[in-house]
Subunit: 422 residues, 2 copies
Amino acid sequence: MAKGFQTLTGFRDFRPEDCAVRNYLFEIFREVARRYGFVEYETPILESTDLYLKKSGGELSSQLFRFEDQGGRDVTLRPEVTASLGRLVTACQRDYPKPLRWFEIGQCFRYEKPQKGRTREFYQFNVDLLGESCAAADAELVALSIDLMRELGFEEGDFVIRLSDRAYWQNFGEAKGLSEEQTAELLQIVDKLEREKPERTEEKLSALGLTSAEIKEAIENPASLGENLESVISEMEARGMKDFIEVDLSIVRGLAYYTGVVFEVFDAKKSLRAVAGGGRYDTLITALSDGKVDLPAAGFAIGDVVIRHLIEETPHANEQLQAYLSAQAPTEVYVVLADEEQRSNALALVTELREMAIATNFSLTPTKVAKQFKQAEQMGADFTIVVGSEYPELTLKNLRERTEETISADQDVLQALIEKIA
Amino acid sequence: MAKGFQTLTGFRDFRPEDCAVRNYLFEIFREVARRYGFVEYETPILESTDLYLKKSGGELSSQLFRFEDQGGRDVTLRPEVTASLGRLVTACQRDYPKPLRWFEIGQCFRYEKPQKGRTREFYQFNVDLLGESCAAADAELVALSIDLMRELGFEEGDFVIRLSDRAYWQNFGEAKGLSEEQTAELLQIVDKLEREKPERTEEKLSALGLTSAEIKEAIENPASLGENLESVISEMEARGMKDFIEVDLSIVRGLAYYTGVVFEVFDAKKSLRAVAGGGRYDTLITALSDGKVDLPAAGFAIGDVVIRHLIEETPHANEQLQAYLSAQAPTEVYVVLADEEQRSNALALVTELREMAIATNFSLTPTKVAKQFKQAEQMGADFTIVVGSEYPELTLKNLRERTEETISADQDVLQALIEKIA
C-alpha cells in the first residue's frame, strides 16, 4: 500500500495520449477491413477452458489465465480469438452466404514473461475468411495484410511478407517416408530453426533420419512450390503487390492447426519478431464442431504492441501517426466568459454549439479571462467566442490566424460560424 | 460436448448484426463525449482485487470474478471502472491541466443471475470530470447525459433525469441527530424505498427513530433543495434542458462513495431499471490514494444492455438505429468477372478501387455471372463493374437506379467513377 495501487505486471493503462494511438490503430484496422468487404463481430473475453484445451493441444495451456468461477466452471481469459470464432460460426454459419469475411478487434491474455513487445494483455485484430478453400482466399488475406501495413504508413522496404505452405513440408515428409507424427515433429523443428542451436537441430533431425543440409536445400532450392503458393504469387503479381512478398519455406507458424499456405509480416530490419501472421486452417472448424460443420478457412492476426513499436521507430509511419494525434485536439471552440453576469447566455451558446456537433469547452467556474484564453490554447481550440457585457454582441477569435471579428448571438450568425469552422 | 461449445452463461457473442448495434452505441458515446471536450482513456480489464475491496466496501465483492493468477496474485475482472480511474489519475493527474474531462468505453464483469437487461459481462461508457468540485461540473454531466439520450434518438417524454443530492439527506440526518453510521443506514433505506416492503422499511426506520411519513414528507415537500441542486437546476434552465429533469430526492444511488449531487436517467415508462446514472464522489480519489491526492470528482456511466432494449422498444429511436444499420452494407462496388481469362485484370481493378477507399468485393472462385450479381445484391453493393472479354471496356451498373454505362479501365475514368460513388 505504501506505493499505492499499481496495474498488474504486464497490463497497461492507456492514458489519453496512449488511447489515441490505440484508436489510430483501430481506425486503420477497421478501414482496411471495410475496403475488403469484411464485417465486424466480437466474442466474449471469458470462455470455457475446454475450448482452448481441445484446440491448441497444450501449447498455450501453460500461459492461460485460467480459474474456477463462482459457479464452479473452469473458465479462461481468451489467449486468442480463433477458437471462439470457430465456436460461433459452428452455431450460426448457415445464416450467412459464403464465404464469410469477418473481422474482430479485441483483447487477448497470456501469462508470459513481460518484455519488449510482449505484454500479458494485448489487442488483436483478427481477420478471417471462412467457407472458401481456394488459394484466392489466401491471396486476399495476404493482400489485406500488405494494404494494412501501407495504410499504417509503411512503404516498400519497411516490411516484407514471408510466404510459405505447410503442404510443402507435408509432401517433403511423405517423400522421406515420415509418419504423420514425424512430419508434425519436422514442422516443429523447422519452426524453431532460427532460434535453436544448430547442434540441437541436427540432433532432432537425425532422429527423423534427416540432416540440416537436406532441410537447408529444401528451403533454399525447392523443386516445386506447389499449386497454391504459385497461385498466391501470381495473384500478388496481378495486384501489383509482388514486391512485398518473399517465399520463405522456413516459415511454418507455431500453432498446430495450420494446414496450408501460411505467412508472416516481418519488419524488414527484423529487429523485432514477426509483426503479424496467418494462414489456412481447413480442419479447425471441423474439429471444434465435432465434425458437424466442414468450413475451410484462413485467417490473419496482428497485435497492437509490436506494430506500435515499429511505427514509432519508422520515421514516415510515425509522422503519419503524429499528424493524426495533433488533429485530436479535445476542443474546437472555447467559450470565454468575460462577464459572470452572462453565464446563462454563455451556457446557452455552449449548448447550441454542441448541438451543431462542435467540440466546445468553457470554464466551469469564474476564471480570469487571460487564464481562459490560456486554457483554450492548451486544449487546442481553433476559435474562442468571448461572451461579455456587450452580449448579444460576441467576439469571435481565430486562434490559428490571430484574427477577430464581432458577431451576434443570433442563430443565423452562429450558422455562418459553423460553416467557417467546418 | 454433445451440444457443442457454448458461451458461458451471461456472456454474449456479437454476430455482425449485433456488433453493428454495439458500434452504433460506441460511435454515439464517443461523439457526444467529443462535443463536451472529453478525451478517451482505458484501464486494464484485470486488476488487483484489493482495488475493489478497499473501495466498494463489500457491496460488489460477492459478485466478483476473482481468482489467483499463476503468480499467486489475487486478481479480479473489473466490476466497474471508477476504481481503476482513481488509481490512474492518482498516478498521473499532475501531468494534466484541471479539470480532467475523461471518458472510457470498456467491458465490466459481475457474477449476477442473468435476466432481462442484466448480463455477466457488459460494456460501460464512463464519463468523469475530475478536479472540479462546483455544481457546474455536475450540471455539465447531467447535460451530457441528456444530449447522449437525444443523440441516441430519444425525445422529450421518452426519458427523464431524476436529480437528487446526498447532502440533502446528510443535512436531514444531522437535523434528526443521527450519527454518521445512522445516516449511512438511512441512505440505504431510502435507496431501497421502491423495492422493499413498506412494513420492513417502517421497521428499519423506527430503529433510527424515524417514520415513513417523515421520509415521505422530506421527499415530497423539501424545505430547501440546497445550493448545489438549485444551481444545477438553474444551469439546466440556461441550457434549455429543464424539461428533461425532475427532482426526486428518493434517488441516492446504491454505492457508498457518492458524496453530493446524484442523478439517474430513467425510461419515462419506468418499465426497466434506471438506464444510466452518476454523481459526485469527492472523497474517493483521496481514499484510493491514501490521502496523497485530493481530487474532487463527478462521473456518469451507462451500460450497453438496457439502453439497447430501450432503443429497440422506442419506435423513433429504433428507426434511427435501423437507418444506421442499413447504411452498413459491407460492399460498395462488386466486381463481376464475366470471363475468367480476365481475372488478373479484375484483381488489378479491385486493388485500385480499394486503394481509393472503396469497399470492394468479388468472387474468389469462378462463378456464374448471375450468381455474382446475386451476391452483389446480398452484400448491399451500390454498383457492379463487369470485367469481361471486352476488357479494357467495362460495364458499370448502378444497382439502385438500375442504369448502366460503358467505361474504360483507365485511371481517369476510374477517378470519375469514384466521384460518382462518393
